[in-house]
């Protein structure tokens, strides 16, 4: 852990990503206190006003403060990102471990199901799942979680297969350790590096997918603030009120960018080939 932070501190791009994420998380955690106004409060005399000292990012078609809505939207985006990646990662870990360790028939069945899920474009699959479950915050998270399961399953399975061939696993079997213990104590800790990198990259993907779903009207339902939903609402006014679309889009780009930078630097740090021992 200490070694990790030392290495991160030498990676400028990684620090940028990490700082950005830190900022976004702080904003998300304390959004009700940071936001200057309530995100649902309508200033009827200030409809569609450009940025001013009273409304830093301007107001939307109902006279709501865009800055406050973006700040509250941070919370939604992070929540969806974390929970849906949590769902996808834990299912992927489970299936990947089973698939990689036992191989044979179980492996074939699990991997064929994952191949089918993989065959759909992410957004189409998420749309289909939300359409079946009905649009709501929790269903959005479940849908995105399912969409991300195959990537995690493949990552984990590949790592398990390579670790399983190591001599220390054979020697653990030769000592008499049971399969469950071998999976839990020897295989899982040894595959964590690629798994964690995958999580950091999937987080940005999940936030983006949520924005896309909300944009299409199947994600977070209005009047709850969400970045994708704001893009959708301001689509029609973007020619004469560009601030309504510019700032939510900038929030999405900034967050995704930070997560990707951090994910890349994480991959370099955790890559055993780059490690000096």
């Amino acid at each position: 852990m200490k070694e990790f932070f030392v290495k991160l501190s030498h990676d400028k791009v990684g620090i940028m990503g990490f700082t950005g994420i830190f900022l976004v998380v702080i904003i998300g955690l304390f959004s009700p206190w940071i936001a200057p106004y309530s995100p649902e409060k309508m200033f009827t005399s200030h409809v569609m006003e450009g940025p001013s000292s009273q409304f830093l990012f301007g107001t939307d078609e109902f006279g709501r403060d865009i800055l406050s809505r973006i700040i509250l939207g941070t919370q939604v985006s992070l929540k969806v990102g974390l929970i849906s990646v949590g769902i996808g990662a834990s299912m992927g870990l489970l299936f990947g471990l089973i698939s990689g360790y036992f191989q044979g028939k179980v492996d074939s069945i699990i991997m064929r199901v994952m191949d089918v899920l993989f065959a759909f474009p992410d957004i189409l699959l998420a749309l289909a799942i939300v359409a079946v479950l009905g649009p709501s915050l929790s269903n959005t998270m479940i849908a995105i979680g399912i969409v991300f399961t195959p990537v995690f399953t493949r990552t984990v399975r590949a790592a398990v297969i390579s670790v399983k061939e190591s001599e220390y696993i054979t020697s653990a079997v030769a000592i008499g350790v049971s399969p469950v213990k071998i999976i839990m104590k020897h295989i899982t800790p040894n595959i964590l590096a690629p798994f964690i990198v995958q999580i950091s990259l999937a987080l940005s993907g999940a936030i983006l997918t949520e924005a896309a779903l909300s944009f299409l009207g199947l994600g977070i339902q209005p009047p709850n603030p969400s970045w994708g939903g704001m893009l959708d609402a301001s689509r029609t006014y973007m020619e004469f009120a560009p601030w309504t679309i510019l700032f939510p889009a900038a929030a999405i780009v900034f967050t995704i960018f930070c997560f990707n930078l951090f994910g890349d630097s994480l991959r370099d740090i955790l890559d055993p080939k780059m490690r000096k021992s």
């Binding site: 044979g104 001599e167 054979t170 020697s171 079997v173 030769a174 000592i175 008499g176 040894n190 021992s277």
Partner: protein, 327 residues
């Protein structure tokens, strides 16, 4: 019954799709209590597979098709249930691997890995187990055991790791220790130390050794009895002294001639012409025939395993006449 391990007619097949290829063919051997037994052969002769079969660690594509492996006269290892097998592994039979660099889990300190063996087979308190581990590390010649226990594998040298492996293997005082090329990855001076250590410790613990190696030097140093394997078969089986003074099978003589010695500098090193046939190339008849200097027409059919002298058997047609007379 004073043999610790009795292998009878063991055959292992490699399953590749619908085809099967024999990789170990009809092996018999018996290891007595406190005996040090060696299996020597080239790469691909099936010696490692035989050792893995004893532990039931064969890969899924390899199947034991015939034969029995009996431990201590009572446990039939090939038919044992997985749960019972786990009790035997590490407790009655333990194993040392070739690569000490990769045989320890990189994420746990040494203490954790040694205690894992004990925790699995005994119900001592943590303090007792730690004392046992320290004691054992002292016995394998590690001078600061308390400190080493806290180290991770990558902080130790190859020789140190192999000592730790030996400590882990012997801490439950197993009846049989299988050592699969335990010194191949180590340099020569460390190799000698490790072999001495194994000799000493197995004496103390009343443990038999099955030594798998390609190095005849290791056999001379360690073993009392030896089986020579070639292409999945045992071609000669006798005491180490007899093998060296009076090798019977042409392959054994070839092997002995290919050992470097200090005396003859002028001659270039002898090597047996050809290579070991792969399982897919094997034909009926003697498997060494294509490389044998004494090949005869009769070698087209499989030679019998003949007793050619007191405690000395070989699988070669050259001795068939004597065999017939003996019968």
């Amino acid at each position: 019954m004073n043999s610790i391990l009795e292998i009878k007619n063991l055959s292992i097949d490699l399953v590749d799709g619908r085809k099967t290829y024999p990789v170990v063919n009809d092996i018999n051997l018996s290891i007595k209590k406190k005996q040090r037994y060696g299996i020597v052969g080239e790469s691909g002769s099936g010696k490692s597979l035989t050792s893995l079969a004893i532990m039931n660690l064969l890969a899924d594509s390899l199947k034991i098709t015939r034969g029995s492996i009996v431990l201590d006269g009572k446990h039939e290892l090939t038919k044992m249930k997985k749960k019972e097998l786990r009790k035997v592994r590490g407790h009655d039979i333990s194993m040392i691997f070739q690569e000490p660099m990769t045989a320890l889990d990189p994420l746990y300190p040494i203490e954790h890995q040694i205690l894992e063996v004990l925790r699995f087979h005994f119900t001592f308190s943590k303090k007792q187990m730690r004392d046992m581990a320290v004691e054992m590390l002292k016995k394998v010649g590690i001078s600061r055991p308390e400190q080493i226990m806290k180290n991770y594998p990558h902080q130790l040298s190859g020789g140190m790791r192999q000592r730790v492996m030996i400590a882990m293997a012997l801490i439950c005082s197993p009846k049989l220790l299988i050592a699969d090329e335990p010194t191949t990855a180590l340099d020569v001076t460390i190799q000698a130390q490790i072999l001495d250590l194994m000799n000493e410790l197995t004496e103390d613990f009343d443990t038999s050794i099955l030594m798998i190696t390609h190095d005849l030097g290791v056999i001379v140093e360690m073993c009392e009895r030896v089986a020579v394997m070639y292409a999945g078969e045992i071609v000669e089986e006798t005491t180490v002294a007899k093998l060296f003074s009076n090798p019977a099978h042409p392959y054994t003589s070839g092997l002995l001639r290919s050992v470097q010695s200090l005396g003859n500098r002028t001659q270039s090193l002898y090597s047996i012409p050809g290579t070991v046939p792969t399982p897919k190339q094997q034909t009926a008849g003697c498997r060494f025939a294509s490389r044998c200097p004494h090949v005869m027409p009769v070698c087209n059919s499989s030679p019998p395993f003949l007793e050619i002298g007191n405690d000395h058997s070989t699988k070669c047609w050259l001795y068939a006449k004597e065999g017939v007379v003996n019968a």
